[in-house]
Symmetry: C2
């Protein structure tokens, strides 16, 4: 059922929630990070536990990111080579080399249902030449990844292609053309929502989405704010992942239908109302804003637990409203009304 | 149903668990700290929420500690005066004065089901004279507390007397005599498990318990290790509280029937077994030692959540086994067998 949002479980757990919460919230696909899991606990330990599903006791689907983005954003040192990426771990500074083949192998040990090929990410201010090299390498690695998957991965799974190309439309075209010719069962768009203006985001997103085969699933990587999701759904995006709902929750920021709310605000100290009057989640049914503010001030673990639950509940409701509006052919008015209200408090 | 263990919810939440967990684990009485709640969020906020039960959404019973021990152990500065205690907050250094009357008032705003009177705690190495002064003050304050409770607390609740007297048996006698003459509905024993040897603990405990009326509930404050609980049950103690099971859980230490287990141990890294083969808790039914070790290493919130759940499940099972053994008149063999196994790994 799409569109769908994937909660992020970087280290083999969705931070602060239990699998039964995630299941109850109707999420059936979560994201793991091959980069993190490869570094810690390591593939030996995951293999010894017969894969990540078993290790973390999650019976539904897992998509794993390849690590291309994490090496780009987290590693202390990285060097893109023809055959792969050489980098230092952000955890202990140890040196590692990831190749397209090895990254597929790692994800097959993890037992991912959807595997992502190793890609080359570029900074927002990168030169056209650098961005073009990244696209060419990403395409070449995608082909090698698909080949490795075909030869070595025995269980039922899928590999998606990742379109790169920075903010250069012609490079996005080159990337899409190269990957589409490889006939992946689904396509991801990388390199957006990395600090560009909303206008550039919308422009490159629309351009890139237009290059993809309409019958195949489209996954916009790392996007998770409501406004960006709406923009993307309008461009036919099916799948999203982002740490946003869970990370802001740990920082005391809660979704409401009229915008985000900081649970640290002094004005909430005697506020006996729920985070959002319209919300029917566990947190809103049991706890007041005043209580949640108290838990954050007292640095209680449950502050993160309750707020994360609320934010992932909100996100699922939001996605379900989108689905309904699509079914009703009322997506555009829904989008307009939602944004009017969501941005009203800002 | 006694004996019973009270999970500690210092700040109006049992750390890392939800009320529904606590309820499912068959705990019906938890402990809150008047000292902490008075300082943060403060009585105004709790009053505005119509008491702690409502604030934290807990429908069963709450016992609150008076703050005597917290002022003694946490405050940056304290001065025992005739009328009360003058101290500086451990949170922000602000100055406060607590009197017996005020402490009852605070707990009545909290809405505690069992209130504890303000007491004077003494260090293990304290002189006889200092300990005697503390006992006399504690007894005087207990009388004032009871009087305040009778005059001002309208809802159904109970106030317990707290026996002090350090490690001086004659002072324990003076304390018990003074408090028993006030006819409290229950008696607490304070000042034990504060660093003394097990022999001194057992000796003073037995002596003090022997001074209490057999028909009234006996609460041993701050005791929570299995061996100390067994010793206390043998002396007719009914009620316990301790941060031990929840605090050690956050530090990766789990109960097992053959002793505590550090979940950080290198040797667990490929251990696919549960924390304890004999345990039927949620954590042990879903997660391996290897996985929990991974969560602790990755500093995941769920490491604390899952281990706390296990430890409070274990504690409840342990207490239920004690109850059964009492009903079966097999407490002493149970105690012996339990300790033999529990200490076998140490």
């Amino acid at each position: 059922m799409t569109p769908a949002f994937m909660p992020v479980g970087t280290n083999g757990t969705v931070k602060a929630l239990r699998n039964e919460d995630i299941e109850k919230l109707n999420y059936r696909l979560i994201l793991g990070n091959a980069y993190h899991l490869y570094l810690r606990p390591g593939t030996d330990i995951i293999k010894n536990s017969r894969g990540l599903h078993n290790f973390m006791s999650w019976k539904y689907n897992i998509l794993t990111d390849s690590g291309g983005f994490q090496v780009f954003s987290l590693a202390h040192f990285r060097k893109i080579e023809d055959q792969g990426i050489y980098f230092r771990s952000h955890i202990d500074g140890s040196y590692h080399r990831l190749t397209p083949e090895k990254v597929i192998e790692i994800q097959s040990i993890i037992g991912s249902d959807i595997l992502m090929p190793l890609d080359v990410c570029t900074p927002p201010d990168c030169s056209r030449e650098q961005a073009r090299d990244a696209v060419l390498t990403t395409t070449r690695w995608a082909e090698q990844s698909l080949q490795t998957w075909k030869e070595k991965v025995q269980y039922e799974s899928h590999v998606f292609g990742i379109i790169q190309g920075n903010f250069y439309k012609d490079l996005r075209e080159i990337s899409a053309e190269g990957l589409c010719s490889l006939d992946f069962p689904g396509y991801a768009i990388g390199g957006l929502s990395v600090g560009e203006t909303p206008g550039v985001y919308a422009d490159i997103l629309a351009h890139t989405a237009g290059l993809l085969p309409p019958e195949k699933p489209r996954y916009l990587m790392g996007v998770g704010t409501p406004d960006y999701i709406l923009e993307a759904v309008q461009n036919g995006i099916d799948l999203f992942d982002c740490v946003y709902p869970t990370r802001i929750a740990r920082n005391a920021m809660a979704f409401t239908w009229s915008g985000t709310l900081s649970l640290r605000k002094e004005s909430l100290k005697t506020d006996n109302g729920p985070i959002d009057e319209e919300c029917g989640c566990y947190t809103c049914s049991h706890f007041s804003r005043a209580y949640l503010r108290h838990l954050f001030r007292a640095r209680e673990i449950n502050a993160a637990v309750f707020t994360t639950y609320h934010n992932l509940y909100f996100m699922q409701q939001f996605i379900e409203e989108i689905r309904k509006s699509i079914a009703d052919k009322s997506f555009l008015p829904f989008k307009k009304d939602f944004l009017l209200k969501y941005k009203s408090k800002k």
